[in-house]
């Protein structure tokens, strides 16, 4: 196959974050501040990304507002011609900083939502007062007319509040709501029993999202990520490995997805050493699972192979023990029984499970 240019890049500016969400998508081995890329290195990476064909840049973390140079980075991204999106908890965004981000050319903000009440949100985020500060930031965003997406990360403890979550998105003036059920990578795998929703919650969620989507068409757009352990078929993870998007970690490693480092036999090049173009088109890690040729017969003979590309490589490794296997959430996977076992184990332990919060090592 011919490799297309990437469309989107996720820049994980830092792993630092005031919150400690137990489902954080960062790797379990977090990088400290001393390993982070310098402002100029990021700015150069943005220019390289735009030259390569990237149109959308997501400034993420950790909490990107933990970087003192966030405004400079935003300006650099904007000047490189990228559509610039800030993925944030809101903590660290003062009115003055929002003014500066707006002036620097920020296009859009994706604000995370841990829960609909201070009690629940602050318990999930492990940060007292976080919810109240987030609501103040949301109001500042609304006042400025900055385009807003609310990213509600959903799981066993907040899925029953979905109706209120949807109302909040409308009240906060969001144009888009992500109902993102926790995916089990990184920290979330340590918290499966505490986070996995029940099948009943999952079914109710699908009904509620479909109803609200029809009711709010033209006011609030929805993106729904269902819990894939209950799905029949896997997600087309990243739109295919090395096909649509890439990720740069805080220390400069260029990854096909944010969880790719869990595949231990892959070696990832660093933006400090290698041009982005060479990494995208020529590196063994990006070429490892491109296309569908590497997939087993289960996928090769399946009519969905060009729909989901065999699903998620990281999940195939984590559950089936082979990154080239069919994603085991697929009903047709020979390893699907392992997903059912994980589900029944998690349900058996759910009531007694406590959170393992994300922690960053101090240097």
């Amino acid at each position: 196959m011919t490799t297309p240019p990437p469309i989107a890049m996720l820049a994980e500016l830092t792993h630092r974050c005031p919150l400690s969400c137990p489902y954080c998508s960062n790797p379990v081995a977090l990088h400290g501040k001393e390993t982070e890329l310098a402002t100029e290195t990021w700015a150069d990476a943005f220019v390289q990304a735009a030259d390569l064909g990237v149109l959308q840049l997501h400034l993420s973390g950790g909490e990107p507002a933990s970087r003192p140079d966030l405004v400079d980075l935003t300006r650099a991204a904007h000047e490189a011609g990228l559509y610039t999106n800030l993925i944030t908890s809101g903590i660290g965004l003062t009115p003055k900083r929002l003014d500066a981000l707006e002036a620097a050319g920020l296009d859009h903000i994706q604000l995370s939502l841990q829960g609909t009440t201070p009690e629940l949100a602050d318990r999930i985020g492990g940060y007292k007062g976080g919810f109240e500060r987030k609501m103040m930031v949301a109001e500042e965003i609304r006042k400025r007319g900055l385009p807003l997406t609310l990213n509600a990360v959903m799981h066993r403890h907040n899925l029953d509040d979905l109706d209120r979550t949807i109302d909040m998105a409308v009240e906060l003036g969001a144009r888009r709501l992500e109902v993102a059920c926790v995916q089990f990578h990184g920290w979330a795998t340590l918290n499966r029993a505490a986070l996995l929703p029940t099948r009943e919650q999952t079914e109710a969620t699908k009904r509620k999202v479909a109803e609200a989507e029809a009711r709010l068409r033209g006011t609030l757009a929805f993106d729904f990520v269902p819990p894939d352990y209950y799905a029949d078929y896997p997600k087309a993870c990243m739109g295919g490995w090395g096909t649509a998007g890439l990720n740069i970690s805080p220390d400069g490693k260029v990854l096909p997805c944010h969880a790719a480092e869990t595949i231990p036999h892959l070696t990832f090049d660093n933006i400090r050493d290698t041009p982005l173009r060479d990494i995208w088109y020529d590196s063994p890690a990006f070429n490892a699972y491109r296309g569908t040729d590497f997939l087993p017969d289960t996928c090769q003979s399946c009519d969905r192979v060009e729909v989901d590309f065999g699903g998620c490589r990281c999940q195939a490794l984590a559950i089936a023990g082979d990154a080239a296997a069919t994603d085991p959430v697929c009903r047709r996977s020979p390893d699907h029984g392992r997903v059912d076992r994980l589900l029944s184990e998690a349900m058996a332990e759910a009531d007694s499970a406590t959170f393992t919060y994300r922690v960053i090592p101090r240097p």
């Binding site: 469309i7 989107a8 959308q56 559509y83 385009p147 997406t149 144009r175 888009r176 068409r217 609030l220």
Partner: protein
């Protein structure tokens, strides 16, 4: 809400949604929150006329004249395209 555009409605791209040249792939793209839509010639012809000043009826007339095409056909194509964008809040309407 009904997504249908009335003849006097003035469609516009809201803040955070814009047209851009795709200098790597060629052609134009519509950039929106966490979404990039590659436009074909028809999409480009429609959206470059969405200024916030032109009414829906004026856009349709302009396209029918420019491409010497039947107005009814143009109107239903433009209506369908703009409604699909409006459903995702990639397009708003000034009454």
């Amino acid at each position: 809400m009904s997504l249908a555009l009335a003849p006097t409605d003035r469609p516009r791209l809201p803040r955070g949604v814009r047209l851009a040249q795709d200098r790597v792939r060629g052609g134009m793209v519509l950039l929106a929150p966490e979404k990039a839509i590659a436009l074909d010639a028809i999409g480009e012809a429609i959206l470059t006329r969405v200024t916030g000043d032109a009414t829906f009826a004026e856009i349709v007339s302009d396209l029918a004249d420019t491409y010497s095409a039947p107005r009814d056909q143009i109107e239903s194509d433009v209506q369908a395209f703009l409604q699909s964008l409006r459903a995702r809040v990639f397009l708003t309407v000034v009454k």
